[in-house]
């Protein structure tokens, strides 16, 4: 009797939390319906596609193809494409939770009015993350459709890949939310951007990690993007073994850690 009561209260409060975070995400959906923002949204999708064409196809003609760990031979485009989805999920989630969160907080002062409502600071951050994931998922769907049409993967594999792209977004969203609370000024974003570029270039995106010597290889295998790329590439090329669970576990762990640290920090920052 008492447990049902407690459980129903917990469920009710979780539902209210969910509703309030959704309301924050809804604000962005509403804003996105206005014209100027549309271009920004569309442009976010175009970038990974351009990289795929330039590096995957253009440079790919010079590279030839790669043989994956399980012996599958893939074209360079099929090798690079999954990495582009992972990187796009990273960039979207990080941009929304660091730069845009900071801008909305410090310059647009958007949250000053939100904290006066029942919405808690952490729910604001969750709502922004939810929006980032939604946006990222739309990009992923579009990109997977193109990959399927170009014969770089199959429809079923693409379907299996979609949740993995959301997981990558969630992991980077968690990291981004912590970074977002640590920002002091716009200059700090230069450091984040360099970190992103370094991961984008070296996390097994354009060439196999086996090509690196031991120390750089260990460092790159610690980055979350490495695991994101490995997971998504395993799914789109359908060449994986049990180690894929390690990638999933790593990303879940990063997401959980990031969100729990951010939960504590956002409150202190928005309500001094």
């Amino acid at each position: 009797m008492l447990t049902t009561l407690v459980l129903s209260r917990v469920a009710a409060s979780a539902a209210a939390r969910g509703q309030r975070s959704t309301a924050v995400a809804w604000r962005n959906v509403t804003a996105a319906r206005h014209s100027a923002y549309w271009w920004v949204l569309v442009s976010g999708f175009v970038e990974p596609l351009l990289y795929l064409l330039s590096i995957g196809v253009g440079v790919g003609a010079l590279v030839g193809g790669f043989t994956l760990a399980d012996g599958t031979r893939v074209s360079y485009a099929a090798y690079v494409a999954p990495a582009m989805i992972a990187a796009s999920a990273m960039n979207g989630a990080v941009a929304e939770t660091t730069m845009n969160f900071f801008g909305k907080m410090k310059y647009m002062r958007l949250y000053d009015s939100v904290i006066a409502t029942p919405v808690a600071p952490f729910e604001i951050a969750l709502g922004e993350l939810l929006w980032a994931l939604l946006r990222g998922a739309m990009y992923s769907v579009a990109f997977l459709v193109i990959m399927t049409a170009a014969g770089l993967t199959t429809p079923l594999r693409a379907l299996a890949t979609l949740p993995a792209t959301v997981l990558v977004g969630l992991a980077f969203g968690g990291i981004g939310m912590v970074l977002g609370t640590l920002m002091r000024s716009w200059q700090d974003f230069d450091y984040i951007a360099v970190g992103q570029v370094a991961m984008f270039l070296f996390s097994g995106t354009f060439a196999p990690a086996e090509g690196y010597s031991l120390v750089p290889r260990i460092i790159l295998e610690l980055t979350p993007l490495y695991h994101g790329v490995a997971l998504i590439r395993g799914l789109t090329t359908w060449s994986f073994d049990w180690s894929i669970l390690g990638h999933v576990g790593y990303l879940v762990g990063v997401a959980w850690l990031g969100l729990s640290i951010a939960a504590r920090r956002t409150g202190r920052m928005l309500c001094p």
Partner: protein
């Protein structure tokens, strides 16, 4: 919460930021249906008090109950029943006028159907119906403030908190805001207002506290405070460039009390005309003489020795 219990009750409430004490042990009780004011100069601690009442800034000491609840433990539940109009307009420039209301209403978990209907009613109330689909940015200062007030009402709050509701507005826009707030009072909505304008406090507040350096220096209805701390009338005397020290000695005994300001001398008297005649009789020749009724400004001057707006 029983009938007649104050909606807001603060006892020895304190807010500290490091070593700085913004609010230094204030006692406040706001009853249902009244308009309650915090009057004081910038930096008196009004906004800090307001943020604590709004449950977005935890108290550093003392006790605070709002709607019978504890602001630290029940913050979301209290905020659900408050309407807040902050000092700086914090409207969302990326949204249209009506979207500013509908998006905000979703933060309170209101159903969409009710939200749409209420947003239309509120725009009507603040006279912005024609601008519903416009962007917020090109609106005038007064319109933005009215929209912010409408936004604060979207959840049909039990208490509306208005932090400096007319600061930065031109006189015409101010009067329109005052008139809307008066309508709200007629509907029985409890309001808490901070202001450093004495005319605003006199116009709007049933009861107010005068704050200075984080403390309450007086409390009561505007008229009571004036009667208690000032005389019925005031004579303002200006003497051009001549030094006021020499003049003030000659005014000894005129009226009940004298105040010297950098540019003028105030003579507090029950009957201003009689006092002005006495000044003439003493062969003093002021460049200008103004007889007026006492205001809260005079109360503040008397209590702190300073003017409200420097």
């Amino acid at each position: 919460m029983s009938e007649g219990e104050p909606l807001i009750e603060a006892r020895r409430l304190v807010k500290r930021f490091g070593d700085f004490v913004a609010v230094d042990g204030i006692d406040v009780a706001v009853r249902a249906g009244e308009v309650f004011g915090f009057l004081g100069p910038n930096g008196a601690g009004k906004s800090s008090a307001m943020r604590m009442i709004g449950c977005i800034s935890p108290p550093s000491g003392g006790s605070l109950r709002i709607l019978g609840l504890d602001p630290v433990a029940d913050g979301p539940a209290i905020r659900a029943r408050l309407g807040v109009c902050p000092q700086r307009d914090s409207l969302d420039d990326d949204l249209t006028v009506i979207e500013n209301l509908t998006v905000y209403a979703r933060y309170f978990g209101l159903p969409r159907k009710i939200v749409r209907q209420r947003a239309a009613e509120l725009l009507e109330f603040v006279r912005l119906s024609e601008r519903a689909l416009d962007r917020v940015e090109p609106l005038s200062g007064g319109m933005k403030r009215r929209l912010t007030i409408a936004r604060a009402l979207v959840n049909e709050p039990d208490i509306v908190l208005l932090d400096e509701p007319t600061t930065g507005l031109d006189p015409q826009a101010r009067h329109l805001v005052w008139e809307r707030l008066f309508r709200l009072k007629q509907r029985g909505v409890t309001q808490v207002i901070t202001t450093h304008y004495m005319d605003e406090a006199e116009q709007l507040c049933d009861r107010l506290v005068v704050m200075d350096h984080g403390r309450i220096v007086a409390e009561g209805a505007p008229r009571d405070l004036i009667e208690r701390f000032s005389t019925r009338e005031v004579v303002e005397l200006r003497f051009g460039d001549s030094p006021l020290e020499s003049v003030i000695a000659k005014l000894d005994g005129v009226g009940q009390r004298l105040e010297r300001l950098p540019d003028r001398i105030l003579v507090y008297a029950e009957d201003g005309d009689t006092a002005a005649a006495e000044v003439q009789r003493r062969r003093l020749v002021p460049t200008s003489v103004l007889v007026r009724r006492s205001s809260l400004e005079d109360v503040f001057l008397h209590l702190t020795g300073r003017t409200l707006v420097d």
